[in-house]
């Protein structure tokens, strides 16, 4: 047993954990901005899928990775704005609109991928992001190779957590955004545009979901496949519930999920437990549900989440 544990908990394990957490952090933190403004965006699973495709395709043809990232983020923003049109401007059901966005975006990603690449005999690939060691810091024993020997996007994800906490809790913009999500009537009376803040929240969520999708097809892997997201968008929404709508706790949830995911990958590879590997794939989802059940009783949901706002109604 000890042998197995020491085999699993090596530096490579923790480095992998941080890589696995990265797209989840992007998705979760992004979604936090729209939910704190009062809009649940169930579209992020589809947005990640579509952005993984647009980012990959852009890089495939331009050979520029950062252009691909830009394309993925623009894709996400556009899908977020469409979600805004439906839920903010038209006040439609956030649940059904979000599912509509996911179905639409994943349909579009399949359609355009097939249109662009046809059905080639070998999977089209790009030269993906490479690891960028941070000078000096990457030389620190243990922590260096785990944290500071990663993709550039990983560093961005790690920085985004404190930055978003600061934006949400310490800036006037963040205060307004949270007020819009808690008490839109009060925000409106104080001259804050509920519509504008909700659109901004959705645009941020879209951009970061796009980044998450691009990370998967352009850094974690070097190709786009139909299963590239496989539920990570939904997991992000669960992590926000788990994290009680707080950036720090949600990010902690992302690391916890990544820990279980990295663990199941190692267990799969170790071959110690003889069950079909899908049993391991199931584990992170089961633990996410259990985690939600443990914290949901005292959930701190933004008061105006799911509620459309109409100026003229009282």
């Amino acid at each position: 047993m000890n042998e197995i544990l020491s085999q699993i908990f090596q530096i490579g394990f923790f480095a992998a954990l941080i890589r696995i957490a990265t797209p989840l952090i992007f998705g979760t933190i992004g979604e936090l901005f729209t939910e704190r403004a009062g809009v649940l965006n169930l579209g992020i699973e589809g947005i990640m899928m579509l952005a993984a495709m647009t980012g990959f395709s852009t890089t495939y043809f331009t050979h520029s990775l950062w252009l691909g990232i830009l394309a993925a983020m623009v894709t996400g923003v556009l899908a977020g704005l469409l979600m805004g049109l439906l839920t903010v401007s038209l006040g439609l059901s956030q649940h059904v609109s979000g599912i509509g966005i996911t179905l639409l975006c994943s349909g579009l990603s399949f359609f355009f991928y097939r249109l662009i690449f046809g059905q080639p005999s070998s999977l089209p690939k790009i030269k993906p992001f490479e690891v960028v060691p941070v000078p000096l810091l990457s030389k620190i024993p243990i922590i260096g190779p785990i944290v500071f020997d990663q993709f550039a996007l990983v560093y961005i994800a790690l920085i985004i957590v404190p930055v978003s906490a600061w934006i949400l809790y310490s800036t006037p913009w963040g205060l307004n955004l949270r007020t819009v999500g808690e008490n839109p009537r009060a925000a409106f009376s104080a001259g804050v545009s509920v519509t504008a803040y909700r659109y901004q929240g959705l645009a941020i969520a879209g951009a970061l979901a796009g980044l998450a999708g691009a990370f998967l097809s352009m850094a974690q892997y070097d190709a786009y496949t139909f299963g590239v997201i496989s539920g990570r968008g939904w997991v992000c929404i669960a992590l926000i519930v788990f994290g009680q709508w707080d950036p720090w706790k949600s990010a902690a949830g992302a690391f916890l999920f990544a820990f279980i995911d990295a663990l199941q990958l190692r267990l799969q590879a170790s071959g110690v437990i003889h069950v079909p590997y899908q049993v391991f794939l199931m584990m992170p989802f089961v633990f996410t549900i259990i985690g939600m059940a443990l914290v949901s009783r005292n959930a701190r949901v933004p008061a105006a989440l799911l509620k459309p706002f109409r100026k003229e109604e009282r």
Binding site: I99, G107, L108, R114
Partner: protein, 354 residues
Amino acid sequence: MTFRLEPREHTPVWLNALLPLLAVFATLVICSGLIKLAGASVFSAYAILFKSALNSRFNLVETAVKATPLILTGLAVVVAFRAKFWNIGAEGQLLAGAMAAAYLGALKSFPGWSLIPLMIVGGALAGAIWAAIPAILKTRYKVDDVVTTLLLNFVIYYGMMALLNGPWKDPLSGYPDSPDILPAAEFPILLKATRLHLGVVVAVVATLLIWFLVRRTTLGFSITAVGENPKASSYAGMSVSKVIFLAAAISGGLAGLAGVGEVGGLHFQVMAGISPGYGYTGIVIAMLARLNPLGVIPSAVFFAIIITGAEAMSRATGVPVFLADVIQGTALVTMLIALLFNQYRLRFKRVSHE
């Protein structure tokens, strides 16, 4: 000139039927842009799509066979959404029903005649149980139903794949297919030399029963009341938790039946691709049917046409077959927008510059 939405006092009857048609028309117009992008003629692509699903006895039957699971998942979503139980898990509940049917249908110790009823009851029960988990999590622990129903889809999918790669793996070929059900468990064929099976009857009977449930029974009334106003229903003496639980179980049972039909009538086994997203399409179907059980049949037939027709269209014109997926997503969005005209009317007025 500017416009605003004004609340309607009551909805004219003709609007109820017109809105889904408008949404479908708008969807086809929007998606024609994609056909053009793919370099095909819009008119001939759509013509092939609809014709190939309807132009012969064989193709009509195939469309009906495709519509069968869609009717059941559509009904599943209708019941759940009426109670505002956001069951996005029909996909997983379908898989639960399919696995139960594959297991029960292969039991040699039971008399042959009992297998089909056993599969139907067992499959519906399996779906109901799988839907009961998120219902209990919602009513007892206040866990968001959207997320749990979705995540449970992944849990059961991987569970199924583990079974197919473990105990159920074909020992000879090594394929991840479950053992075939016994011949006595195969659904009878209704039309000679076609694939029209008993499942179609199950789907139509289920539609009538759900219509009766929703329109004529106390439970059906409670489900709608809880969905519209849980607080008022609670004051009126209904047990909101119980109603949500029952709605979820019925919903899951219907989705489970969809899985039973696919195993008993079509594939006679469970394999990885047993449901290409029928559970998710059920959401689109239910919304297009405006959560009316009787509306589910035309709505499901429409999407069966789109899904079967898209393959022929893709072969003939080279437009990617995934147009069918885009149409589903677009239809959900356009239908949502169309529903606005149910509650509001568009009023144009001139802006006065004073």
